[in-house]
Amino acid sequence: MRRFNPVSVVFVVLCVVGWRCSGLSATFILNEVTIRFIRDGIMVLALLIPIAAGMGINFAVTLGATAAQVGVLVVVDRQIGGPAGLLLALCIGVCLSIVVGCAVGYALNRVKGKEMIATIVMGFLGTSLYQLVFMAGYGALIPSHNREILLSRGIGVRNMVDLHAFRNTIDQYWTVTAGGVQFPVFMILAVFCTAFVIVYVMNTPLGQRFKAVGENREKAELLGIDVDRTRIRAIVLSTVLACLGQIVFLQNIGMLNVYTAHLKTDIFSSAALLAGGATIEKAGVRHAFLGILLFHALFIVSPQAGQNVFGNAALGEYFRSFVAYGTIAFALILNVRHARRAPNAAAPGDADAV
């Protein structure tokens, strides 16, 4: 009973049109898309489990990304480089993500049915707290061990922190070049591995609980499932994966925009997922992969297309922002499964007794 999702088709059309207008070569686009795939792949995959558990889009993945950045800043502060530093940053980030995930999950259990607006606000709040700590606390309450990242006035981390210590530590492994396009096989496999882990988890008793809770909270409760704990677990998993995804992202880019790197992760990841044909209620790995390709391809070609067609590259940029927000708005407007007046209605054919 798969309903035909027009969103992916629209994206394909837009991509093709944009590609033609931009005049960029296919090789260039493929290269860029591959890089984005490994950079953002895990972050998009992090959104899958909360959707399966019926909690909609987890906009609080921003908090997982923030946790990763905290880990990275701590490591940079102590000037630990190389793979060891990366690993340590990851550990710190994951620990923090688990704590944050539990808090978010606990809060979301109080707003069942309105999770998405809550996660967006939590994302904003977390971001502000993070900014406060590192802009006003670092150097003052938190002793600084690295003068390089400290602002000249003595308080606050610089806007940009160079991550040369672990730039591209792992993503240059096993690069295969084919037809002008570079494929960093190790990283691609890493993304596939994460996808595999998610598929595996959905095939465990825990995954069954996620599915049951995602379909119908009340019935899952009657089946003996601890709905609240299951939901918290879904959010924790999601946040941890987001943290991992941000670490991969940062080591690929090679520098950290301390106050802005995490800002639009939730929007772009969810837009990408939805572009691949996922909905607020149902999302799979294939949607994630297809979505990243389509969404980022459009992202890449838009400015140039705007320049060529309208003489204004900014138009292309505005257009792609609109596409990102618009995709999410569209997904929220469509697919309203539960009618407003009947909170626990039986499905249409249910009570039709003989």
Partner: protein, 349 residues
């Protein structure tokens, strides 16, 4: 199951109010201690009350109709921006410029509000998050418009190239501060913008009276108990549409008040996050359960804006200048999050 404690229901103070009140009291004490000029602060707070107050007022119709907090306020704001641009384009200055801006915003607000309400009527239960993204998308869509807009007045356009609007348009020669300066009086060193305050109060009064008319009562009923309203013969869909259009038009007027007071029209991404401080102000005033009064709007806006004003000099002295903005964001989001958690999720049968 979101329950409001009996104490709060009885008309007392909610936790957000208590927190903010104590926050403001502490900040005032600190300000006095740091010898910051309190008189200018008071004068400023009155201006900011009216300047931001209309935006907060605009949230009331939708909130009372049970549609939740209007995070799609950017839709109304954009309508207002268009209205103001038209007024500037036609080179109308002074108070008449301001009033024409408000006039032009009305049809635009009604049209976009109508469209917006159709979207909201579809989403049932998810209005707030859908409104957020509709608002965001609309702002981004308008960016395309601003970048190619066919307005004539060079003051609005990029100096180089002459194509596309400036992100910030100065209103000194048009209606900037027009209302602020109207009938402004000095009372023992505090500058009281009487004209501005009066217009804000007038709008507040009109809204208050509207809520007591027949259709206003229908709106309150829809907000309190939609099933009851439907059973009582009220056209629920129509009332909700009216509430959304009203909120949108008031939002448009709200940005007119804001811009004339600030002295600049800010285009492009400026309206993106404007809904959140307004929502926060409403919640601080004690709004809950769909029975917001105008008094709550005034109280909430005043407290919120005072926090804003006090935060800057205090942050300057104690922390760092940027901390002020961050603190404001924290306060805003904390209040909204608290309200969301307190209200609970979808009401169970």
């Amino acid at each position: 199951m979101g329950k409001i404690s009996a104490r709060a229901r009885a008309g007392g103070f909610h936790p957000p109010q208590i927190i903010i009140l104590s926050f403001v009291a502490v900040m005032m004490a600190v300000a006095v201690f740091l010898k910051i000029d309190v008189k200018t602060i008071l004068g400023d707070s009155l201006v900011r009350l009216a300047m931001n107050g209309v935006l907060v007022l605009s949230l009331v119709p939708m909130f009372n109709a049970g549609i939740g907090l209007n995070f799609g306020l950017p839709v109304g704001i954009v309508a207002g921006l268009l209205g103001m641009c038209l007024a500037v384009n036609f080179r109308i200055t002074g108070l008449s410029g301001f009033l024409s801006a408000m006039l032009f915003s009305v049809p635009i607000g009604v049209l976009s509000g109508g469209l917006y309400s159709r979207i909201l009527n579809r989403v049932g239960g998810r209005e707030e998050i859908a409104a957020t993204f509709v608002g965001f998308s609309f702002v981004c869509l308008m960016n395309l418009f601003w970048a190619t807009a066919p307005f004539g007045n060079p003051v609005m356009l990029w100096p180089i190239g002459g194509h596309g609007m400036r992100p910030t348009i100065g209103l000194q020669n048009y209606f900037g501060k027009a209302l602020n300066d109207l009938w402004s009086v000095s009372v023992s060193g505090i500058r009281v913008p009487v004209g501005l305050l009066l217009s804000f109060c007038l709008l507040g009064l009109l809204l208050h009276l509207f809520l007591r008319t027949r259709i206003g009562r229908a709106l309150q009923a829809v907000g309190e108990n939609e099933t009851f309203a439907a059973l009582s013969g009220i056209d629920v869909r129509g009332v909700r549409t009216l509430a959304v259009i009203l909120s949108t038009v008031l939002g448009a007027w709200g940005i007119c008040f804001y811009a004339q007071s600030y002295g600049f029209i800010e285009l492009y991404d400026a309206p993106l996050m404007m809904a959140f401080p307004a929502a926060s102000a409403l919640l601080i005033g004690g709004a809950s359960g769909g029975r917001t009064t105008i008094a709550q709007v005034v109280l909430g806006t005043y407290l919120f804006q005072t926090t804003y004003i006090l935060s800057a000099p205090i942050a300057n002295e104690l922390l760092i200048p940027e901390a002020a903005e961050i603190l404001r964001m924290i306060v805003t989001n904390c209040v909204i999050l608290y309200a969301l958690l307190h209200r609970g999720g979808v009401r169970e049968a």
